[in-house]
Symmetry: C2
Subunit: 310 residues, 2 copies
């Protein structure tokens, strides 16, 4: 009853077949992809796995372009893999939509598919359902045996570094709200580029790493939690990196924040010369607790998903 069964299947099955069948992103180790109760995959070594949700008007305006919804939902998850030094392998997509909208789905799938293809990350399964617009992606990547980056392992005197354009996304959101959707910062906000190559290059060099999702001060506090150490940031370096030391306003950057022992600096700079984005040294890990800018104590400020700005 092949033809009859196909005709009888649900709208959900049809949407999946129409918009989420991407044979060009095959994925090594994928034994069974979209279309059964579960996908079947295989990965010999250690695997990094993370999940992140984007809720309409909490993480991204519902009115943001569908292509940005598709790109960003995958990008923020790939950013977690970057912060682990992992190489993306495959992902699952749980998509909740208020109603069927084929034009939206087409653009959403293009945004996600392009990033999946450029990062070699195969879509192997998911769930499509009705409800308030939200996207949860779960992504997995491979790690070198015995390797990978962690939080909480910085030493006193390590340099503190950040990649790319921290602060751009926060400005981009303002531009977007003001209708300036083609501004370069708006592009950074809507289409963050996960720093996967940088993450892999930090392997064996950085003492700890995290991705910047909730703001530099909050994520720096998370990076150093458990070490017993603090941070001494340099106001002029922050300004050079594009951050205002007075407000430290940032969030949604999906840049990498990491610490590095001094003796690894030359190697880092050699590797960073191949990156297509900037690298900024913004301070040092210090014995004194807390986060200081030019010697004045600041407090961890960032986006708190329950408390707003914390």
């Amino acid at each position: 009853m092949a033809e009859q069964a196909q005709a009888a299947l649900s709208v959900e099955d049809e949407l999946i077949r129409r918009f989420f069948h991407w044979p060009e992103v095959g994925g090594e180790g994928v034994e069974l992809g979209v279309g059964d109760d579960a996908a079947v995959v295989r990965l010999a070594g250690p695997m990094a796995i993370a999940t992140d949700t984007m809720v309409a008007d909490v993480h991204l305006p519902q009115s943001a372009p569908a292509r940005a919804w598709g790109h960003r939902a995958l990008a923020v998850n790939l950013s977690d893999l970057a912060a682990m030094g992992a190489t993306p392998r495959w992902f699952l997509l749980a998509l909740t939509l208020p109603e069927r909208d084929d034009a939206w789905l087409e653009d959403f799938s293009i945004g996600m598919r392009e990033l999946a293809a450029s990062t070699g990350c195969a879509l192997i399964g998911g769930d499509t359902t009705r409800g308030p617009l939200a996207v949860t992606v779960t992504v997995a990547g491979s790690l070198p045996e015995g390797g990978g980056l962690r939080r909480g392992a910085a030493s006193i005197g390590d340099g503190i570094f950040v990649t790319g354009t921290p602060g751009a996304a926060a400005r981009g959101l303002d531009h977007f709200k003001a209708g300036r959707i083609t501004h370069v910062d708006t592009e950074s906000y809507l289409f963050p580029q996960p720093r996967l190559a940088a993450g892999r290059d930090l392997e064996g060099l950085a003492s700890s790493a995290i991705d910047l999702s909730d703001g530099l001060t909050l994520d720096l506090a998370r990076l150093l939690a458990g070490t017993g150490f603090g941070a001494e940031l340099d106001a002029s370096a922050l300004t050079s990196a594009g951050l205002d030391p007075a407000s430290m306003r940032s969030g949604d950057d999906y840049e990498l924040l990491f610490t590095l022992p001094g003796q690894a600096l030359a190697d880092l700079l050699a590797r960073a010369s191949r990156w297509d984005h900037a690298l900024h040294r913004i301070g040092l890990v210090s014995e004194a607790g807390g986060i200081r800018i030019d010697g004045s104590e600041t407090v961890a400020v960032g986006w708190d998903h329950f408390g707003g700005a914390a």
Copy 2:
């Protein structure tokens, strides 16, 4: 700055530490659990992985007990693993809440934690965010080398079987809406029991399997899609199984629906004698297309996430 950093971290970090730290469910192969950018796990053989979302008032009433929200969000995902014949290993939780509600979170975490402990499935990571109530779980399990159950591989003459109490969940939802929250069918609806032991027992016996989430006829059409075959169901057997052949009303059952060659029947019955739930033979895989009940053609009817009853 250990103490200071702890104090400065976000409400989200605190909620995770308070409600989602379950050291008793350790999980073999978990090298790094909750608390970094990603979890790190390792699994030598093939892995089954699935994701499912529960949206308030679409999949489960927002007013359902928080314990049921926690149990069911994990159970429906474990049911996908059961349908693959997989053994649960670990899961990730993406939880979206309208507001912080510690009493709700406590009950939610208990419901989920009990099922995680009883199935040996470790919580290794997740995301907690603000928005309309929804839960997305991603679950992974191990499969025997070269084994596991699939859809689309039934042969003509195979028996068609269903486990447990199909139809009970649909009746249970009615009871719940009518305020009869202690009815046995309401229990089936709120606290489905994933048929993990049955799924593993089908390994090497069943020719194909699926879990019943969207109704027997729609899921049967999915199970047979691609085989070119149809199904001949027996009205009296459906009645015995608790289904009304006139309406075939079911959904949210999370029972297993599978096909089995005749020569495997004795082995199946021997294994099924250990199960703590029923097993029903409801029909045969037939050469004729479509799904027939006592010779009369029916149409695939089930829950369609976009079209309602399809």
